[in-house]
Symmetry: C2
Subunit: 680 residues, 2 copies
């Protein structure tokens, strides 16, 4: 129990750090009234969206919590009503705390953006610190809430199943938050770019553009709140899977030990992260990440060596997981970095027109899948084999511990990731607040660093989700075996398993298609609205002083559109999962989860990397290569970037959550279709 | 043995029909000297490419045949040298006959194209007949060669393993023929379109364009020879898998029965296919397909009922396979047909710019995967369950018989498919031969019918490949079990299986990326060459009489480029397969094949359907919608079509062959890594 309690202590410490950073950021001055006003518009827009989204999701959560009450851990007509009640409560708590994490994130991000913009007048370091510490509030809050919740549930109930229902609550919120936020942000981004940059040739973030505030709101609701919910979900799902697998082996302590030390390492990393006045903020972010990895390695090694119950083989699994995370991160960096060959080649292809931009970027995206997916495979295989000698039941523990290792530094990852949209917003505020070119240079530099860091952290997030869902597959097997009392295997030569695999493979595909079609529809609607405003509001195009566009109209289109689209996309995955379970039973479900994981990882990696690649190819050209801004190559690159936007910020990252949710739905409903199914 | 001999008789009959059609087409007049000259250029270009390609492939086949000699059916140092010699000989025969099929196809297609063009002056019916009967030569030749070879090998050796090595020979040629032809055709097509239609605004097939002959050559080497090799490969692979599985059950006769009757049905279908003078040629093609399906159903049902050894359940499996083929075909038709919602929506999205064209087309492509992949899953599951009551070993027979059913009408499918490039060429010849607008109207109509039929036949081809490789997975298991004497299962919870699944899933991705990057590189080089010719050859752009571009230069660029690119793409898949086998053993290989099948099908369906969708969205706009030709929507649609070209004609259809080859490589080398592997 020692490490469970230490986990609570470290979580409390992290909350303390978060609170300290929050106050620190809040105390920074924002002298410019214009920035305060625009910043307030962004803040209001973000909270408006969040409230409307949460209101819808509350209904969804309420309905599902009744279903959980009816069927989990065992059908209420067969089992113990008290346990089901507890499961429903933890489910609601998971959803609520996931929502809270998003709320905290928006709250700090929309304070930090103004302060980072304003601080840029005083130089790169203060602006960077405002952005980074703002991000760190989110990082610390998300991880500490997840860890504290898992530890508390373990202490109070002593039953890892309830962490599973808690995780399901967090996931079902994350699924919609990520998808909804992703649709919102890209709707606004694409519409703003197409009408502003492409049609009128006005700069990004120009205040004449009616979509500009919606675009900045989008950064917050998509990248901050959505991403926070996503990683909250990954973190708690990996804890839940590891705990379910560790429970029968009496190894829960090791799960908490490594998680607590991971958070501690992140706290240290966040506190000592600095950038020199003439330093490279991108390097600073990456150095912080690597430093955190190092601290985690040393701390866990020491803890393992001094604790007689901990086996060094299990430590090996967590170390392997972390290392593979780093490798995947750097693979993403290779395929999306603007000093590397793929970006250069795609930028060069832009010279021959947009079709070549798309084809070459998409092709490199396809290539980028191999190293990452083989890395995940090696991590899973290695962790399994490493821990296998410890006896039956241990191999799957190895995989789940590898995912804990990969997610160990998630506190640092989220901090880096939330930094991105904050400084992106700061850039927008600096532009709209007319702070001048010197300040814009600084915010541009900080923004670019955010993009580099993002490639690596995204690689981490996808890799970790991959290992987590493999572990969840193990947890699913564990639950089914405990229900049926039989040893289960999923033999690919069993036609039900193969059938499930095929159907599962198609889910991420239809899910991401629905999100992208949603973005397509909404941004076309928003483009229409912008054209209308330009046509009807006199003097707007010309920038006549005092003439303002109707920002709220665009925010409203993005909000209503995103909320309308997110429900069907999320529901389809859940409903097909239930259909497959009740038609094909446990066997089909095993294959279904595997198929879903495989194409899910494939599509997530493809879309994230291709999207990042197009984005940076555009930036590469903008920095003066192949004709620079305004050239034909640039026009092609902008089209590539527009295609890449929903790839990398809507569909790609949402797939993570989709595969996690589907795995959890399978585990939660396993008792049902283990007892009844058409063919199973 | 009865049906094995009947197979030979039906094959001979089909060869007779092919020979009759060949003579019939050859006897048609080509009065216009200009068409004869240009037609000869195309014919020469196609044969030049074929010869150069075959020369390289001969070296490859020679090397691999030595490997086959060393290891198959069992390592030569352990087994029977006579058997290995036979395997090597059948391997070479498979490759040679696949090459022959391609040769026959090119030979007839480059005669039929001129005759179809010339016949268009006399009306739609004669032109259609020239195109369709030209295609039918290919269809009859391919299927009869495959069936006769399988029957002969069975009669002479009595050992289905040698059909496996024959099939491997056919596949290894097909892999390169499809990939090489696919790269050639799209290199020329894209370069011709971009410089001609987009930059200069001159019509398709304008003789001023230096790439125009290369484009027409590409239709032949890619769509005729490549597609013929591909379907020859699918046909023989499905026979091989079914025979290996049927042999221990003593059910080989039923395999030959259904295959022979399928060919007979195709012969009847081809002979009675007609179009009325005012009729719709697209409908005629589809009616022919459905008619063939009906004849096949009736004939096989009668044969099954009158033969006491044939069980009606097995007939059910073949019927199910055929039905699912039809359903997948019509699904493809829905997602790519220009009178259906997806094409209309994508065409509408073109109004908002090329990024929306790409995003919406890609998204619908993603959606289109679900019904087809679920269809394949249902066919496999249904066939398995239907045949399961017959006893052990039968279920996999059910799946392989379902794939025989889906491929039963392949003779008709190839006829329809080869019709496409022939009338496409005829259109080009009519344009270049200045036959006038009335003739062009007819050839346009015939060309459009080819595209509609193509969507359906492509669906069939992918579906059949899917079922075939599932059956090959069964054959692989069969071979491993006979080597090791143990019952094998591929449990997804075994980390080696899961590792294999992940790696296998990445193979189609990297394979198709390499092909598309090849097209990208080559067509950029060709665009450069075309610009050079326009700049240096005086009067070319203006169309001064007597001034001709250097067509051969472009043919040469496409030839050299395609041959350079096809080898690495093909080798990578084969080498990674061997590495996975020797590292992870039989278990990893089972997962690897499954992963490869799943993402292979996924990508093939996505790319074929998205590509067809963009193509038809462009045609939809060209027929006067959303602004028609020359509008902004049209420009976006052209970009979408260019992206779709290598999707649907290079990468998408090559993946079929790639998954078949990989499955066969696994079966051929199974004895090796069953005895040695690092972790297995």
């Amino acid at each position: 129990m020692l490490w469970t309690i230490i986990s609570l202590v470290v979580a409390a410490l992290a909350i303390g750090v978060a609170a300290y950073f929050y106050k620190w950021v809040q105390a920074l001055p924002v002298e410019e009234e214009k920035i305060r006003n625009i910043g307030q518009l962004i803040r209001d827009g973000a909270f408006t969206f969040l409230k409307r989204e949460y209101r819808i999701l509350a209904i969804f959560v309420a309905i599902v919590s009744v279903l959980v009450l009816l069927v989990f851990p065992s059908p209420i007509w067969k089992g113990n009503i008290g346990e089901n009640l507890l499961a429903a409560i933890t489910y609601i708590a998971g959803a609520a705390l996931s929502g809270l994490a998003g709320y905290v994130g928006i709250s700090i991000a929309t304070l930090a953006n103004m302060r980072s913009a304003s601080a840029a007048k005083r130089g790169l370091v203060p602006s960077y610190m405002a952005g980074f510490r703002g991000g760190a509030v989110m990082g610390m809050a998300v991880v500490s809430i997840a860890l504290a919740a898992a530890a508390l549930i373990q202490l109070i109930t002593g039953n890892a199943d309830f962490v599973m229902s808690f995780s399901f609550g967090a996931s079902s919120l994350a699924l919609f938050a990520k998808a909804g936020g992703g649709i919102f942000t890209k709707t606004a981004d694409i519409a703003a770019d197409l009408t502003g940059k492409v049609e009128l040739g006005i700069p990004e973030d120009d205040p004449r553009n009616p979509a500009v505030i919606a675009d900045n709101v989008g950064d917050n609701v998509g990248d901050v709140a959505g991403m926070g919910a996503d990683l909250f979900d990954s973190q708690i799902a990996s804890l839940a899977a590891a705990m379910v697998i560790a429970a029968p082996l009496n190894k829960i302590e090791i799960v908490f030990c490594y998680s607590a030390l991971g958070l501690l390492a992140s706290i240290i990393g966040v506190l000592i992260a600095r950038v020199g006045a003439s330093g490279d903020p991108g390097k600073a972010l990456n150095t912080g990440t690597l430093l955190t990895c190092g601290i985690f390695t040393v701390l866990t090694l020491i803890a393992t060596l001094i604790t007689p119950e901990f086996d060094i083989r299990i430590w090996g699994a967590t170390f392997l997981g972390m290392m593979v995370g780093v490798i995947i991160g750097f693979t993403s960096d290779y395929f999306t970095g603007d000093d590397k060959k793929p970006v250069e080649k795609v930028a060069e292809a832009c010279k021959s027109g947009p079709a070549f931009t798309i084809l070459s970027g998409f092709s490199y995206g396809l290539v980028s899948v191999l190293p990452s997916i083989v890395g995940i495979g090696i991590a899973a295989l290695g962790a399994y084999k490493l821990v296998e000698p410890l006896g039956q039941g241990y191999p799957m523990l190895g995989i789940s511990i590898a995912s804990i290792g990969m997610l160990s530094i998630v506190g640092m990852i989220i901090s880096n990731d939330a930094y991105g949209p904050i400084v992106d917003n700061a850039r927008g505020l600096a532009e709209m607040g007319e702070l001048g070119d010197d300040v814009l240079d600084i915010t541009d530099k900080l923004d670019a660093a955010g993009n580099t860091a993002k490639a690596i952290t995204k690689g981490f997030a996808i890799g970790a989700a991959g290992l987590t869902v493999i572990a969840l597959l193990g947890a699913f097997q564990e639950i089914v075996e405990s229900v049926t009392g039989e040893i289960i295997s999923f033999n690919l030569m069993d036609p039900l398993v193969f059938f499930g695999t095929l159907v599962g493979a198609a889910i991420p595909s239809i899910f991401s298609a629905m999100l992208m079609l949603g973005v397509n529809r909404n941004s076309q609607a928003m483009v229409e609205e912008i054209h209308k405003q330009f046509d009807t509001i006199e003097g707007l195009k010309e920038g006549k002083p005092g003439v303002m566009p109707d920002y709220n109209k665009c925010i409203d289109i993005a909000t209503v559109g995103a909320i309308k689209e997110l429900i069907p996309a999320g529901l389809v995955s859940i409903i097909i999962t239930l259909v497959v379970g009740f038609v094909g039973g446990v066997q089909a479900m095993g294959g279904y989860l595997a198929g879903n994981i495989v194409t899910g990882l494939f599509l997530a990696l493809l879309m994230s990397n291709a999207g990042g690649l197009w984005d940076n190819a555009k930036k590469y050209i903008e920095s003066g290569n192949f004709g620079g801004k305004g050239s034909n190559a640039h026009k092609s690159a902008v089209i590539g970037d527009t295609v890449g936007d929903p790839f990398k910020d809507t569909a790609g990252p949402s797939i993570n959550t989709q595969i996690t949710v589907v795995s959890l739905v399978a585990s939660i409903t396993a008792t049902l279709f283990a007892t009844f199914s058409l063919f199973g």
